[in-house]
C-alpha cells in the first residue's frame, strides 16, 4: 500500500519542509522589547532539531521503500479488506461541515443532521435498512434534544443559537 511503502519517506520530506518554513517565519519576527533571547529563539531551535531528525527519517524512508518491493505481492493477498477511505473522507467532510455550520445554523439543527448522517456513514452495508435508518433518525433527534436541554437549561451553558436556538 502507498502508506506502507512511501509513508516514511513522505513523512521525512514533510518534516524537512516544515523545518524550513518554521525557520523562515521565525526569522521575520521582531526582537524582544526587553532584549535577551526573543520569540524567535525557540522556533529556530525547533526548526533545526526537526531538520536534523527529518534527515534521519528520510534515510529510513528510503530503506523502507527499497525493502518493500518483494513483500508487496504477499501483502496484497493478505488484505482482504481494504481500508475504506471513502468512509474516512466522508467522516472528515461531515465533521468539518458540522463545526462550521454550528455557529450560523445553531446547535440543534447542526448536531441532529450531523449525527444522523455520520451514523449512516459509519454503518456497514447490512445495517442500512429502512428500519435502521428510522432508528438512527430518532436517536439523533432525541440525543441532541437531551444534550441541548441538559446544557442550556440545566447547566446554564450557552450553546450556539443560530436559527432555531
Amino acid at each position: 500500500m502507498f502508506f506502507k511503502k512511501y509513508g516514511d519517506l513522505v513523512a521525512g520530506i514533510f518534516f524537512l519542509a516544515l523545518s524550513f518554513f518554521l525557520y523562515i517565519m521565525a526569522d521575520a519576527l521582531p526582537p524582544s522589547i526587553l532584549g535577551g533571547i526573543g520569540s524567535d529563539f525557540f522556533p529556530k531551535i525547533m526548526a533545526i532539531a526537526t531538520c536534523i531528525l527529518s534527515f534521519f527519517q528520510i534515510r529510513s524512508g528510503f530503506k523502507t521503500m527499497r525493502s518493500r518491493k518483494p513483500e508487496e505481492k504477499e501483502a496484497a493477498e493478505e488484505e482482504e479488506y481494504k481500508p475504506e477511505y471513502l468512509r474516512v473522507l466522508a467522516t472528515i467532510a461531515l465533521f468539518t461541515i458540522y463545526v462550521f455550520t454550528l455557529g450560523p445554523v445553531g446547535f440543534l439543527i447542526s448536531s441532529t443532521l450531523y449525527l444522523f448522517l455520520q451514523i449512516i456513514v459509519l454503518s456497514p452495508k447490512d445495517k442500512r435498512s429502512l428500519r435502521d435508518i428510522i432508528i438512527y433518525a430518532i436517536i439523533s433527534i432525541v440525543s441532541c434534544v437531551v444534550i441541548y436541554f441538559v446544557f442550556r437549561r440545566g447547566l446554564n451553558l450557552m450553546l450556539p443559537t443560530g436559527i432555531l436556538g
Binding site: 526587553l34 529510513s60 525493502s67 481500508p83 475504506e84 474516512v88 472528515i92 465533521f95 454550528l102 446544557f151
Partner: protein, 509 residues
C-alpha cells in the same frame, strides 16, 4: 486546637442530609463530566462555582471538592472503554486501559482503575493532612529556573515514549512543541504563526487538541475498518467480576508501582502549573522504564493502568497542599477554589489554618468521603459502564463526537475551539498511517509553553546567562538527569539496532 478533634468536628458536621446529598450529587455529576470526553473536571467546577456562592462555606467546598474528585477519576471510564480520555488527566490510561478492554478484560480494567484512583487519592489526602506545611515550603523553592529544569526533564521522558522508533518519536515530540508555539509568545506577546487569524492569538487549547488526537482519530480508524469489524467476531467481555476484578496477588505485585506513582502525582500536584495529564504520563513512563517487562506496556497490562490512574488522582491532594497552606493555586480548579474562598469572606494564605480551621478540615473530610463515594459509585456502576460497550460503535462514536464538540465549545465559549479539532484529527490520523506515535506529541504540546516561558523568565533572573542555571542545585540536578536520560536511551537504541542487524537482514515494519 488539636488536629484530631478538629477532624472529628468536621466529620460530625458532615453528617447531615444536605452535606451527604452534596457529596453524592457532586461526585456523580463529577463522574459524568469526567467520563464524557470534551467535558472535564474543571468545567464542572467552573459551572457550579456560581451556584456555591449562595451556600454556606462548608457546603460550598463540599460540593466543589466532590466535583473535582469525581471529575478527575471519571476520565478513566471512557479512556478504557472507547480509547478517548474523558479528561486530560486520563490520557495515559488509554495506553494500557483500552488494550485490556479489547482483550475482553474491560471489567478488570475498570476495577483496577477505580480502586487505584481511590488509593492514589487517599495517599495524597493523607499527605495533605499530615505533612502539608513542610511540603508546601518546597513549592516556594521553585522559581522559573527550577520549573524549566523540571519541564526539560519531563520532556526528556519522551525518549521513553518513543518506543521502538526513536526518530519518529522525537519528530512527534518536535511537532507537539511546534504546535505549542502558535499564538502570542510568552513575555513579549509577539504573535507567532497566527496567519492573521485573531482566534489563534491565544494558541491552540489543550481540549480540542486531545479531542482531535484521540476522538477523531478513533472515529477515523473505525471508519477505515467498518466492514472488517462488522464481520469479525465480537469480543466477549468477561463480565463475571469477582469483587474488584483482580486478585489479591495481582494487587500486591503493584505495591511499588503504586507508591511510586502516587508520589509522582502528589509532587506534581504540589508544583503549580504542571497538571494531571503530565503526572499520568510521567508515572506511566517511569513504570515502564523500571519494569521487568517494558515491552508488554501498551498491550494491556495492569501496571500501566495502575501508574496512570494512581498518579492523576494523587494530583488532587497535591494541588490542595499549596492552596490550603499558602494560598497558592496549583491548577485551574484550585484557582477557582481560591475565588470561592474570597467570595465567602475567607482570605486564603498562610493564616487560613488559623482563621478558619473548620473550613480547612471540612475540605479534608470532604476529600476522604468523596473519594469513598467515588469508589462505591464507580464500582457499582461498572456493570452499566461495560454494557455501554454493547452500543454499536457506529452510534456511540458519533454521539461522543457531538459531546466532544459541545465540550470544546463550552471550554472557552468559542466556536473556534470546536473547529480546531479538525486540524488535530486529520494530523493524528495521518500520523497513525505512517506509524508516528501520538503520545510524545501530546506531552510536548502540553509542556512546550511552560518550557519556553520558564526558560525566558529564568534568563531574566540570571540576566541572560544560561550557565547560571546550574548554580541552582535543584535545577542543575533535573537538567543533568534529563540530558543523561536522553543520551542513555539513544545509545541503548543504537546498540540494540546494531545487535539486531546481526540477526536479520530486512528492516521489519
Amino acid at each position: 486546637m488539636n488536629p484530631l478533634s478538629l477532624f472529628a468536628d468536621a466529620f460530625l458536621g458532615m453528617m447531615n442530609p444536605t452535606a451527604i446529598l452534596l457529596l453524592i450529587a457532586g461526585v456523580a455529576v463529577g463522574i459524568v463530566f469526567g467520563s464524557i470526553p470534551g467535558l472535564s473536571a474543571s468545567m464542572a467546577v467552573a459551572l457550579f462555582l456560581p451556584v456555591t456562592f449562595a451556600m454556606d462555606s462548608h457546603e460550598a467546598f463540599t460540593l466543589l471538592v466532590s466535583l473535582y474528585i469525581g471529575g478527575i477519576s471519571g476520565g478513566l471510564i471512557s479512556a478504557i472503554l472507547i480509547n478517548i480520555p474523558g479528561t486530560p488527566s486520563s490520557v495515559a490510561t488509554c495506553f494500557d486501559g483500552h488494550p485490556m478492554a479489547k482483550k475482553g478484560q474491560a471489567s478488570k480494567a475498570l476495577g483496577v482503575g477505580v480502586v487505584f484512583s481511590f488509593l492514589g487519592g487517599l495517599f495524597s489526602f493523607l499527605i495533605l493532612m499530615f505533612v502539608a506545611p513542610s511540603l508546601a515550603k518546597v513549592t516556594l523553592k521553585f522559581s522559573a529556573i527550577e520549573y524549566f529544569a523540571v519541564c526539560l526533564f519531563a520532556l526528556s521522558m519522551i525518549a521513553a515514549l518513543a518506543g521502538n522508533n526513536m526518530v519518529k518519536g522525537l519528530l512527534s515530540g518536535c511537532l507537539g512543541l511546534i504546535f505549542s508555539l502558535v499564538g502570542m509568545a510568552p513575555i513579549d506577546g509577539v504573535k507567532r504563526f497566527t496567519f492573521g487569524i485573531t482566534e489563534l492569538n491565544s494558541g491552540f487549547d489543550i481540549l480540542p487538541t486531545l479531542i482531535g488526537v484521540f476522538a477523531i482519530a478513533e472515529v477515523l480508524s473505525f471508519a477505515e475498518n467498518v466492514t472488517k469489524l462488522n464481520k469479525a467476531t465480537h469480543i466477549k467481555q468477561d463480565t463475571r467480576i469477582k469483587g474488584f476484578g483482580f486478585t489479591w496477588k495481582e494487587f500486591v505485585s503493584q505495591k511499588w508501582n503504586f507508591l511510586r506513582s502516587a508520589a509522582i502525582g502528589t509532587i506534581i500536584g504540589i508544583l503549580p502549573g504542571i497538571g494531571g495529564s503530565t503526572a499520568g504520563m510521567l508515572a506511566y513512563i517511569t513504570a515502564k522504564k523500571t519494569s521487568k517487562y517494558p515491552e508488554k506496556f501498551g498491550t494491556g497490562i495492569m501496571d500501566g493502568l495502575v501508574a496512570s490512574e494512581t498518579s492523576n488522582n494523587a494530583v488532587v491532594g497535591g494541588a490542595l497542599i499549596p492552596l490550603l497552606t499558602l494560598g497558592i493555586p496549583g491548577d485551574g480548579v484550585t484557582a477557582m477554589l481560591l475565588g470561592a474562598f474570597m467570595i465567602h469572606g475567607l482570605t486564603p494564605g498562610p493564616l487560613l489554618f488559623v482563621d478558619a480551621p473548620d473550613v480547612v478540615y471540612t475540605i479534608f473530610v470532604a476529600c476522604i468521603l468523596a473519594n469513598v463515594i467515588m469508589l462505591v459509585m464507580e464500582l457499582g456502576g461498572m456493570r452499566v459502564f461495560v454494557r455501554l460497550l454493547n452500543i454499536p460503535k457506529q452510534i456511540l462514536l458519533p454521539i461522543v463526537l457531538v459531546l466532544c464538540t459541545v465540550g470544546a465549545y463550552a471550554s472557552n465559549n468559542r466556536i473556534f475551539d470546536a473547529q480546531s479539532i479538525i486540524i488535530f484529527g486529520i494530523m493524528s490520523y495521518l500520523m497513525g498511517k505512517v506509524k508516528i506515535p501520538t503520545a510524545p506529541f501530546i506531552l510536548s504540546f502540553i509542556l512546550g509553553g511552560l518550557l519556553e516561558t520558564n526558560l525566558r523568565r529564568g534568563l531574566m533572573y540570571t540576566k541572560g546567562s544560561f550557565w547560571k542555571f546550574f548554580t541552582h542545585p535543584i535545577a542543575a540536578v533535573f537538567i543533568v538527569v534529563a540530558i543523561l536520560f536522553v543520551a542513555w536511551t539513544v545509545f541503548k537504541q543504537i546498540r540494540e539496532r546494531r545487535s539486531g542487524k546481526a540477526n536479520q537482514d530486512a528492516v521489519a515494519d
